[in-house]
Amino acid sequence: MKRALLLLIASCAWSQSGIDVPAIGMIVDPSGSLRAVQGVAGNFLLGAPLAAGVLSAACSEQLCLAKTDSKILSATGQVDAPPGPAEFGFDRDTAVIFFPASQTFARWHDDTLELLDWAVDDAVLSIRVGDHGIEIALRRDWAGVTNGPVLLLKEGVLFATADELLLRHRDGSVLTFELTDAESITSLGPHYAAIRALDRTFVLRLEPEHEQLFLLPGSTP
């Protein structure tokens, strides 16, 4: 009776918070511009350039960060950062960032950057901040598997060989997609990874049982 009363009240007071075009994430296009990706699976729209001279970008469910040569940009501002590109590992509304040019780590939060006293003696391929700590994929760890890009995911790991893209789930199952010459893999958003291959940008939908590889429009000049 109590629950019935509660929902009786709700039935008169439902509301919708506004209808929007679905946001998928952000990519760096071949010209170095940061662009929003909108739409649904198989139907992608690229937004207008939001920033130029962007070297790296990645998004989580709560946060998108972009790296220019000297700044880290967010939706709320920017902060000075070591030069060169960056690898992002998101942790809710903060991020652990690796700067390969200076081999330094930092933690980003609220448009501030705190350098971390961490050191690695190898190339960092990907960073993931999970419930049980921070995972870092190093080149030497993958030497027998691939020389290509690697992205650590909540679902497992996504990596590319010379002619394939492989999604290895945490249960050990592997999905394989035909894709040659992948150069980089980044987190496009909570449900997608972006894969740059030559002058094309592919997106892989990551949701379990809906994994599918798509091509982003306008990714070839």
Binding site: K2, R3, A4, L5, L6, L7, L8, I9, A10, S11, A13, W14, S15, Q16, S17, G18, I19, D20, V21, P22, A23, Q38, G39, V40, A41, G42, N43, F44, L45, L46, H191, E207, H210, F214, L215, L216, P217, G218, S219, T220, P221
Partner: protein
């Protein structure tokens, strides 16, 4: 006294030099002199000569007369008087036509307040050959006389047959008989010089063989007459290209592959553009911007085929990917820039479909139950929703089905964004007290294609 006489003689000479008459040939101006020989023309033909009246002096000249007095002569008279500033000039066109063989002359006169210029124009009219043009070409007497070879396929031969006749009572010597123009050639007929006897006829043929599409011109000179030759060439039509798609039913939110091939070998190399256009079924939007070729994010791609080939390359690739968008309607593929043996236009119909969701989530917050949906409605008619909440034992909670209608909100959103029908929306149900016993919700979401039923479990 002697000096005075000399000066008196010089003055008219100096004065005559101020207004001068020239004959214009192309861009070259030649002083006309006392006699203007306009040459020989065939009876019935027209000869045009451009004359230039130039003020070589330092003072303004008022031209009071420009005339050509003689049978058959005309001049495009300007309204006189008119001024010519120092150093400036005015061109006029002197024309002549007569139908009777004879020598004709006219007194060409230009008067001004400074000096007058006169010249005698002379034309010899002779009996010219009569040219008969047979179809498929067409002739005109002009001026200038012309022969049009019409439209021909590039690389193909088009023949025109002619009769050349001497209609006079005297033998007609033909010293000049030649064709100019890269695509034109006399393929049969007499060789100059030759004589056409009175009343006789001789036949000849001119070939028009254009190498590529374009406009062609040339000339046919027969003694006193010159005919302008013209023709237009178009590319060889390709066999009607076949536009083919990867297998499977065509629906919204797909990325599809298009290939193009010819049913038989291309007769010549060809290139053009592959275009797509989209017409939505709904009137709420005028287009769906996601319907594009993926390679460029545009609606036009170049294509090409080599001579003898059947594979058509699109942007240099064997196929092209495109998105079908999120609107029911028709995607129309057309080819431009080539001639084809039949219209290759191909239309794909995107059928209306039930609401489709990429992501649906149900979450509890303090005081709220949130339902978020990300999907699309290719009918643009979404809005009617029914929610039924369940407890952990699967029993429907009171008051049962809760109806919500967001139709107007969806219509306003689609109309405003003009970005297809993809949407994300969150519906919140305010609740007081403990919501942990609410386990799930059934949703029925309707559009014009039907109703989609989804069950969500609260997290």
């Amino acid at each position: 006294m002697k000096w005075i006489v000399i000066l008196a003689l010089l003055l008219p000479i100096a004065a005559r030099a101020q207004i001068a008459l020239y004959v214009i040939n192309g861009s070259i101006a030649t002083p006309a002199g006392a006699a203007l020989d306009l040459g020989r023309i065939a009876a019935g033909d027209t000869v045009n000569t451009r004359l230039r009246i130039k003020n070589n002096g330092t003072s303004l000249a008022n031209i009071s007369r420009v005339s050509a007095d003689g049978i058959g002569f005309t001049i495009d008279r300007l309204s006189v008087p008119f001024p010519i500033a120092p150093g400036s000039a005015q061109d006029v066109l002197l024309s002549f036509r007569a139908t009777t063989p004879a020598v004709y002359n006219a007194n060409v006169q230009v008067n001004s307040q400074i000096n007058n210029v006169t010249a005698i124009a002379v034309v010899t009219v002779v009996n010219g050959p009569s040219l008969t043009v047979f179809p498929v070409c067409t002739g005109s007497d002009g001026p200038p006389p012309a022969i049009d070879f019409g439209r021909a396929q590039a690389g193909q031969l088009r023949l025109c047959n002619f009769y050349l006749q001497n209609t006079s009572a005297q033998p007609m010597p033909i010293a000049t008989f030649q064709v100019t123009g890269s695509a034109f050639r006399i393929s049969s007929g007499p060789k100059a010089p030759f004589i056409i006897a009175p009343g006789e006829t001789t036949a000849f043929v001119i070939d028009f063989t254009p190498g590529a599409a374009g406009l062609y011109s040339g000339s046919l000179a027969i003694e006193t007459r010159t005919f302008v030759l013209s023709g237009t060439a178009f590319d060889s039509p390709l066999p009607k290209p076949l536009l083919e798609f990867d297998s499977g039913p065509v629906q919204s939110a797909q990325q599809r592959r298009l290939t193009m091939r010819l049913p038989s070998a291309a007769p010549a190399a060809a290139s053009g553009f592959l275009n797509l256009a989209f017409t939505p079924d709904t009137t709420l939007v005028t287009d769906d911007p996601a319907v594009v070729f993926l390679a460029t994010g545009t609606r036009t791609l170049p294509f090409s085929v080599t001579q003898g080939g059947t594979q058509i390359l699109i942007s240099g690739q064997t196929s092209a990917m495109f998105q079908t968008g999120t609107s029911s309607g028709r995607i129309r593929f057309t080819l431009t820039g080539i001639s084809t043996d039949g219209d290759p236009t191909t239309t794909l119909t995107i059928p209306p479909a039930l609401l489709s969701f990429d992501t649906t989530t149900a979450t509890r917050r303090t005081g709220n139950l949130d339902i978020q949906m990300i999907g699309f409605d290719n009918t643009y008619a979404a809005g009617a929703m029914v929610f039924t909440f369940f407890d952990t034992s699967g029993q429907a909670l009171q008051p049962g089905a809760i109806l919500a209608d967001f139709t107007q909100a969806f219509r306003a959103f689609f109309s405003k964004t003009q970005a297809g029908s993809a949407f994300q929306v969150r519906v919140s149900f305010p609740v007081t007290g403990d919501t942990s016993g609410i386990a799930g919700v059934d949703m029925k979401l309707s559009n014009s294609a039907g109703t989609t039923t989804t069950h969500l479990t609260f997290k």
